[in-house]
Symmetry: C2
Subunit: 452 residues, 2 copies
């Protein structure tokens, strides 16, 4: 159960402490129970909500009938009573719409995250809601876009997604493709969606159909939620896109009607909370989908075309014995000294064109002599590595640090994990890292006004 993963055990009074905790304990209340609070002649009725850790110990928070949360400050005159135990959440499950012959078949594979959930108004906890019936009940418009088949693969917040989940996703996609489909949508938490998009880009060679990853920045109980529009966009794109690539489809900047489609190896989450959080870096978006007029405009003219006869080549092996290190002023060499004893490869997120402080060079040299594979990316994010301009870059090149052109640090990390899943030989790993496998390196960097 999601709510257990979530740590929202209703037998606890999560987040309450001090006098409010004592008061709730006295009436044997649990999160989710129906509570009545009487204060200054006013009655407040609602489900008991968990508190955040940073909250005070003065307020009790309940979700009232309208769906809003209110906090009632407790003082010596306040009375509180438990009216009823929390009810189990129920979902209305209408029958799935009939199969429509004129629509494509789209499979939705859920891995968790905000997009794949509905908020339980009882506790505020998120619940996975991705049977086809749940989807049609939440977003009836989906039945006009495609015949949908839904799969719940994981129910993970994406910060907990790890390389073994990438393997599971790739294998599930392979299985669904074998069973026949026109496009696949992967619902995923936004935190690490770009890492997973890169992983699938490397793992799914020779794709026949589009794989559209989608998330939402704001859950469906919020007025500004992007969950429904992003998912509708993703399904439409999966059903009709001419490309067979791993992409991320998320809310665009210019208009609420635009969903941008980003190349899986060139995309990054660049805002913690904004709906326009996902951006193509050192590349333009692959395509733009307009929700209002259901049109898909391609921005790229070179891409792998959709071809249902193409046979997928599944290369879903990852070796996580790889470290990502961001360098900074004052960084000590002891960290690299430690890392070279443990890891097969290190992605450096250097400064500027691909530099680290000179005090780290000896440790890097020692690591390379031991056979540790060092690659260079930039913490600038935008732009391209060039280690020929300054002495530090040339020194690093001479030691054997491999510059990764305009590859994102996050993509470079995933690619090195994938590379060491293909080979244990350093020379072969170097060749793979510097070969453009899934569009992770651009032939040239875009003009700065476009690329930023």
């Amino acid at each position: 159960m999601w709510s257990e993963n979530n740590g929202l055990n209703s037998n606890e009074l999560k987040g309450y402490r001090g006098s409010t905790y004592e008061l709730l304990k006295q009436i044997d209340a649990s999160i989710g129970d129906m509570i009545e609070i009487t204060k200054n002649g006013e009655n407040y009725l609602g489900g008991l909500m968990p508190r955040s850790e940073s909250g005070d110990d003065q307020h009790i928070v309940i979700k009232i009938k309208s769906g809003y949360n209110i906090g009632v400050k407790i003082d010596s005159t306040t009375k509180i009573a438990k009216i009823g135990a929390g009810a189990k959440p129920t979902f209305i499950r209408p029958p799935s719409p009939d199969h429509k012959e004129d629509l494509s078949k789209v499979d939705i594979i859920s891995t968790g995250g905000t997009i794949a959930s509905r908020v339980d108004y009882r506790t505020g906890a998120v619940q996975p809601a991705l049977s086809a019936a749940d989807l049609y009940s939440s977003i009836p418009e989906l039945s006009d876009l495609a015949n949908i088949n839904a799969h719940i693969l994981y129910s993970e917040l994406s910060e907990n997604i790890s390389p073994h989940h990438w393997i599971g996703m790739a294998e599930k996609i392979s299985e669904v493709i074998k069973s026949g489909t026109d496009g696949i949508v992967i619902c995923h938490g936004t935190d690490t969606m770009s890492y997973s998009a890169a992983a699938l880009s490397f793992a799914l060679r020779n794709l026949p159909i589009p794989i559209i990853m989608v998330g939402s920045q704001r859950s469906s109980d919020r007025p500004s939620s992007d969950a429904a529009t992003n998912l509708m966009g993703a399904v439409a794109i999966a059903s009709k896109a001419p490309f067979a690539e791993v992409t991320v489809a998320m809310h665009g900047k210019s208009s609420d009607n635009d969903i941008l489609v980003h190349k899986g190896t060139k995309v990054r989450k660049c805002h913690t909370s904004g709906r326009f959080a996902f951006r193509s870096v050192n590349a333009s978006p692959v395509a733009t989908y307009n929700i209002q007029n259901s049109s898909l405009k391609m921005n790229w003219d070179q891409y792998q075309k959709r071809d249902s006869n193409r046979k997928l080549n599944l290369e879903a092996r990852f070796n996580d014995n790889v470290l990502l290190l961001k360098s900074y002023p004052g960084m000590k060499s002891e960290l690299i000294e430690w890392a070279i004893e443990k890891y097969s490869g290190i992605i450096l997120e250097g400064t500027g064109l691909g530099h680290v402080s000179q005090n780290l060079l000896n440790a890097i040299k020692k690591g390379i002599e031991k056979g540790v594979f060092f690659c260079m990316t930039s913490q600038c994010i935008w732009g391209r590595i060039n280690m020929n301009v300054y002495t530090t870059g040339r020194d690093l090149l001479r030691l054997g640090v491999l510059p990764l052109k305009d590859m994102l640090p996050e993509t470079a990390l995933v690619k090195m994990m994938w590379t060491f899943g293909q080979t244990t030989k350093l020379e072969d790993a170097k060749k793979i890292m510097i070969t453009n496998i899934a569009g992770e390196m651009s032939p040239r960097t875009l003009p700065e006004d476009v690329s930023q």
Copy 2:
């Protein structure tokens, strides 16, 4: 000498190997020597240039009279002769312009980097060129902007700038302010300029005058160089700005005439090579300077006003026993297990609203129990930490990880180093980290279309 720091020892044939190395060795050539190459009846004359490490062993590169570099492919018919030894570089030093009573006094303190250098056409190496006379000879327009006093403090590529340099810069600034000046320009390499800007923002409390940091992305021998315009802009801003804040002044996006002035704690290098590399994050630029009409437009209405009677409070102590760790899928807890034995504090660069994978929680818990100070920032860069939304965030809060609102990870690292320079007590450190000292946290995050 810069050329020695640079590793460009003219007695070596840096970058040459194989047959070209042998050929140059035979004629006893060194980098910088005047070389004549004869091939297919053509003569090529120029100074011998060092090669980059990624270069082949087939070409000899010389800088010809026009200033351009050419590479000549060596084959069995090629002849090569040494015409003369490399001359020491000479700089023309015109007398400084007369003191102009109607102009402000601006002090330029150079720490190194591309902006503070001129390229030695003999070797391609950069040389510090920041006596006032050198400056006036390079950029005569400066004498119309201010009476300039120039200081060479360091000649460091900024990837080598470390906390002890921050202390040196702050002390030098204090000394110059005491001697009387209207504004200070700090020339700095761009790689770590934003880290240094944050460091000076914390170290220089109660500033009386503006401190304008400036760099250049392209050296002055390149046609698209931003060195002169950035420096002229910085001097003009230092002389006339109404604010007394540490800022970074760099080329703007919209026009070659605009120099953007960024708050020192809210600025980040976001492009490896573009001139518009520096951006205000989660804040608008403090001001915009238009070079063409010499106008400074303030974007902020709240700032510390220039006041020459205000007495600087120098708080230039930094403790570098602090680690910055970027989290990623597959990150192992062993890194945190190691770090908590070594470091007093760790800045986590988590995903999204401020998360790390659950598999790291035990190691973080262990660290916090040992008294290690953990703070959370986001690798999204834009936006604000909010650890109350999802379970992982609440779990981290409960363990005692401190969320740093919309502070940049780089600024957070510098602030923690500064904080542990002020106190060794964890409770005091927590209070300092969460107090807005130098505008490092915004009261609210800007709308996403503005902040990105």
